[in-house]
Amino acid sequence: MSTQPPEAAASARELTYAEAIREGLEQAMEADSRVFLFGEDVGVYGGAFGVSGDLVHRFGAERVIDTPISELGMAGAAVGAAITGMRPVLEIQFSDFITLAMEQIVNQAAKIRFMFGGKATVPMVVRLPGGSGTGAAAQHSQSLEAWFAHVPGLKVVQPSTPHDAKGMLLAAIDDPNPVLIFEHKLLYKTKGPVPEEAYRVPIGKAAVRRAGEDVTIVASSIMAIKAAAAAERLAAEGVSAEVIDLRSIRPIDLETIAASVRKTHRLLIVYEGVKTMGVGAEIAAMIAESDAFDYLDAPILRLGGADAPLPYNPVLEKAAVPQEDDIVAAALRLARGEA
């Protein structure tokens, strides 16, 4: 079933994506003394992207903890704290730096519960600012979420709106499993309605952002925003696109995607991570293996990141990931039987 988020009333106040995360952190730390935030420069500096802001003044340096530049150590510390009763929230300054912590995330956090026969839980959250578009080049711009979606034991989410950024953070903190939240750096300053109370957006449920009849566009993170904008333009061209914001890639909401494909008969998948061996390949294969395959009237199309490291030059950088124009063009080809 498709799941619409509990959208805020039209009168709800607006927050930026970064402010929404900060409010979620603040509410979680207020409600539960086990919750703490740690990472590089999350204290007085306020976080490299300003997400933690003034939380250190509110909660003190014992709960908003600046760490040395030691990603592996930090990830392991999150594991150790989590299995002994705390609820750590770890900020990795740029998601690319998680490569330094792979051992603890992949071998320890993801597997401890299973390896120990269910005798331990690892309730930790890792926040990872990712994505391109800031001119930060190859080592500060990647979208590595698919790597982690390949690991049983982890949950991986990619909120695209301020509403979901707060609600999924709170759901992740409640979750008894390790949850990785990939936040897109270009979304931090985007605004949207955010309820004041502490609410949860369930992990594993996609959101149908726009209902349509002719083509299904499944997109994640900032691509869901671009897909929604593309759908507006497609409507002007006479093509009715259904836009699904994936929100969670492990677990993945196949049912919402399949239901949409049964209706529209066409599927376009858009994601910023490298197209090859990426999230889109998995979604396409899941649909091909499901009963929804019989409903398809056209090949499944994918738009994803280029098979190249992210370049510095802004023209090249834009060319390396799907843009709104690319989504419009691909959807038109599908809808007009040209794919």
Binding site: L72, G76, G80, A81, I83, M86, M115, G117, K119
Partner: protein, 356 residues
């Protein structure tokens, strides 16, 4: 080349303050402080656990030969004193993190060998319900947060356990065992630094058994001792004879006191030796028979028993009773494990995720 430790190996172990303040019983006056500080009951338990480790591993090895064990194993025969010594003063609620060579740590923390054998045999009644095997035995309720298949994997986790103890204001410590090989992982550096800047209640216990698989630590490290690195983390770096249980226990006592006083972590390097190969595939091509034989002469269990007898701390009858008791426990444990059911394949994905 025979490279057994020199007699004067133990160095830099200051007699802990807690030992100085305890007036030894009159009969203990002629004993060294490390032994005199320990109560008879505790010594008896320590010997029992050392014997249990030895017999567990010997029978684990024999079970492997009989085809009862599916995977590989890493035996710690010869290292029982460091396992038991470091855990000697721990209480049930204190934590340990262990290594791939972790059977001794597990038993030293009070684990039940029945459930350990069951885990070895891949049975549903094992500590990890047969999902973990030798390399992942954990007894979370007993404070053992798990063996670890990744060299150095437990070190960063210990930092988080230390943070957790601090934040929850618990009167506990965390012992993290690791080998000389792990000391060359980046995780070692990150973890000791973080533990020290935050003065976390952690004992970093290095069991230096001389080899990382086949690589001699003398070839793998730029300094002779792992403890030589301690000044870089502003923590005490103590070298002890790892085959000397009371010496390891004394070093651990000092480190526990320091941790509980809020002074931070300590690094204890136990110089020891694994008599068996790295794992089942080891043909001992990298070391001389004479070296292995020389270390067998320094058997930690035999040395401990001799000292206990010499000072009349445990009677021969009591020792024999312990030995008999251990044999019975091992036999019952193997019988229990063999009679236990295998896991059901239908439950393959159980516990991949926890449900709220």
């Amino acid at each position: 080349m025979v490279d057994a430790p020199a007699p004067g190996l133990r160095r830099a172990v200051e007699t802990p303050a807690s030992l100085m303040t305890q007036a030894p019983a009159p009969s203990r006056l002629n004993q060294r402080a490390e032994l005199a500080a320990l109560d008879d009951d505790d010594l008896s338990l320590a010997l029992r656990r050392m014997r249990l480790i030895r017999r567990f591993e010997e029978e684990a090895e024999a079970s492997y030969m009989r085809g009862l064990v599916h995977g590989t194993m890493h035996l710690s025969i010869g290292q029982e004193a460091s396992a038991v010594g470091a855990a000697f003063h721990l209480r049930r609620e204190d934590y340990v993190l262990s290594t791939h060579r972790g059977h001794g740590h597990c038993i030293a923390k009070g684990a039940d060998v029945s459930r350990m054998f069951a885990e070895f045999f891949g049975k549903e009644t094992g500590y990890c319900r047969g999902r973990g095997g030798s390399m992942h035995i954990a007894d979370v309720e007993g404070g053992n947060l798990g063996a670890n298949g990744i060299v150095g994997g437990g070190l960063p986790i210990a930092v988080g356990v230390g943070m957790s103890i601090r934040m929850q204001k618990l009167d506990r410590v965390c012992v993290v065992y690791f080998g000389d090989g792990a000391a060359n992982e980046g995780a070692f550096h990150e973890s000791l630094n973080m533990a020290s800047i935050w003065k976390l209640p952690i004992l970093f216990v290095c069991e230096n058994n001389k080899y990382g698989m086949s690589m001699d630590s003398a070839r793998a490290m730029a300094v002779p001792n792992v403890a030589d690195r301690a000044p870089g983390y502003a923590m005490p770096g103590v070298i002890v004879d790892g085959n000397d249980m009371p010496a390891v226990a004394a070093a651990a006592r000092a480190a526990i006191d320091r941790a509980k006083n809020g002074a931070g972590p300590s690094l204890i390097e136990c110089k020891t030796y694994r008599i068996r190969g790295h794992s089942r595939s080891d043909r001992n091509l990298y070391r001389a028979k004479e070296e292995i034989e020389a270390w067998k002469e320094r058997d930690p269990i035999a040395a401990f028993e001799s000292e206990l007898m010499a000072h009349d701390r445990l009677s021969l009858a009591a020792m024999n009773a312990i030995a008999d008791d251990v044999e019975r426990e091992i036999a019952e444990a193997i019988a229990f494990a063999q009679a236990s059911p295998d896991p059901d394949p239908k439950e393959l994905t159980r516990d991949v995720y926890a449900t709220a």
